[in-house]
Amino acid sequence: MDVGVRAAVAIPGHGPAPRRPRIGVVKFASCDGCQLTILDLEDDLLEIAERFEIVEFAEATSRRSSGPFDVLLVEGSISTPEQVVEIARLRAEARRLVVIGACATAGGIQALRTAAEHEAFREAVYPVPAYVDSLATAHPVADYVQVDAELRGCPIDPRQLLELLTSLSVGRRPQLPDQAVCLECKRRGIPCVVVVDGQPCLGPVTRTGCGAICPAFRRGCYGCFGPREAANTAGLVAAFGAARPGVDQLGMSAVDIGRLFAGFTGAAPAFRSVTVSLGGRPPMPLRPTLASPPETLVDGPPAWGPVDASPAHPTESED
């Protein structure tokens, strides 16, 4: 990513700051958690709103804009044909396009579905699948358009988000290290869970940025920030697959190790190749399972029904 939108450092002769950058926030297939992270910057939210003109952020404002944007934050994976068209349109409207979160950067967990599974599933549900508005799998945004920067994570880290916005505001490069989670884990003085518990941990192959949350809660990292630079997945797989004296949990089966890598960034090439080489992740079912078979109602709008106690209702569990 090039230097930011403007340089606001007040050094004489540097000239006054230009207009506030127009920022937009949009989403594709996702849980909304990454854009919620913006609203979770409680201490800084009002200043952000002063420094940036928030012109599009459907979760937070009724103001709408279809562009142009100085900065566009994009959450979610590309999962439908309409979204393919829309992301191309947005790219053309955005001076800088920043993808945020595991869905936008790696496809998210929904990207683990394969084309074959999708097809089988769709046909099982719809007798006449004349038009199904869904791509075979979910894609990271970069599969379709050029992206200028990315915030990793499921969800993104609020400090990294603030760093991005600050760097955009000041006009410098955001400091988003690409090294392993382990560095942050050791800086925090957290005992390594592989070493003390024999728990498998993806920290050595996962990009830092979360603050080493999982080891801090005494569990292994599940890789939600995706692969780090030069991730030696083969070395880690070998170590987890080998039994270690005095350790119960390592000596894992290939399938178990493969599932470990098939997480929220499991579609990232460096992780997917591990899962595939170890026998793949568990297959998705071909049939939906519902609490009860769905009925189709085609009447007019629903109306409120009777509200008084009715003896017809089941009141006891049969089990």
């Binding site: 992270t37 201490d43 937070a60 967990i109 508005d133 609490a291 769905p294 009141t315 569990s317």
Partner: protein, 434 residues
Amino acid sequence: MGHGGDLRFQVENLTRVEGEGSLHLRVRDGVVEEAHLEIFEAPRYFEALVVGRTPDEVIDIVARICGICPVAYQMSAVHAFESLFEVEVHPQVAALRRLLYCGEWIESHALHVYLLHAPDFLGYPSAVELARDHRDLVAGGLRLKKAGNQLLSILGGRPIHPVSVKVGGFSRMPRRSELVALRPSLEEALELALATVEVTAGLDTPSFDRVPRLVSMKHPTEYPLNHGRIVSSDGVDLALSDWGRAFQEVQVPWSNALQARAKDGYPYLLGPSARISLAGDQLHPIAREALARSGALESIRTNPYRSIVARAVELVHATAEALDIVDAYERPARPATPVTPRSGVAAWATEAPRGLLFHRYVVGEDGKVAAATIVPPTSQNQAAIEADLAAFAPRILDLPIGEATHRLEQLIRSYDPCISCATHFLDLRVDRSP
């Protein structure tokens, strides 16, 4: 009548709701012919994605259904598995799970009250503009929200998709000192929550009264979160695992999401208003008192716009209960009870901020999930929203179209619909025309 003949309200992209949806309402000669809340979240197939996974993996995966209420998904899942595996968790584990849920309620309710819903009542497009004129109000709301997020962070590492919940307990439980450190922010949050009740109770709301069918959980000694039974205003009283005996999922052609209805086909209402109406006697005494002072109990039940007051009352409850849990906390020797997985059906419901969230899993002999059903609150409330839209629309036909549309949007927002949650297994857009 202001508008003769056909009238079509159309809001293509609902704002200030979580996820993506749109509203279509067709009115002919004063009669509502169609009231459709369309949901067009791209399908993500969670019920398929959890198949073949271990229960602990499922807890992490289902959180990703919703970034606004991930704890709710973790809670329904973890309790479902623990009920199947007959795990007895430590009392402090149970308490901390309530505390975790309180954190999410505080975060989610404060978000909705201050950032999403209040601008409607006060005539602003967003909290940013609202803050220009009422900075203290919004800043207070943000501090309240932050108190919830801090709770989530201490217990689970981060507010969104926390990492510590596992079958049997937690991967790590905090030291007492870590929790006690939260007391000042929680005390301030309680004051802010009490003020929120006053402010919201005083808001001018459109007059719209109806008598909805209400459904929530109920427990004899605690305000419903993780335990109790499913009850309704029309007499349902079921174990949490038996949701399917009184309710069913139906498919409507105008929405990608499945809707849930009562077995008789009628809609029902979940969420803060339902909980307060059905289980209000178990509110924390401070919240009960605030509710009484507000005089809003009856209108919370009958006027959907008053749900903002219900949320405020629950903010009081969640902060007050959080303080109680913090004060009584002692770190147990072990953060989790050992678990012996077994096969069978694991089903449970908990009270998400938006209402009852039902999970049902089939666990196979290999200890992995073989099938899953997840019924989120918004898909259950969708029919209720549409029923309200149909009932309310005739009253606003005389308003200018922009104003009328705004009123309808505001009505939808009063349900705090979380559309990314409503994305269900069957969320595929189908064009059935030949």
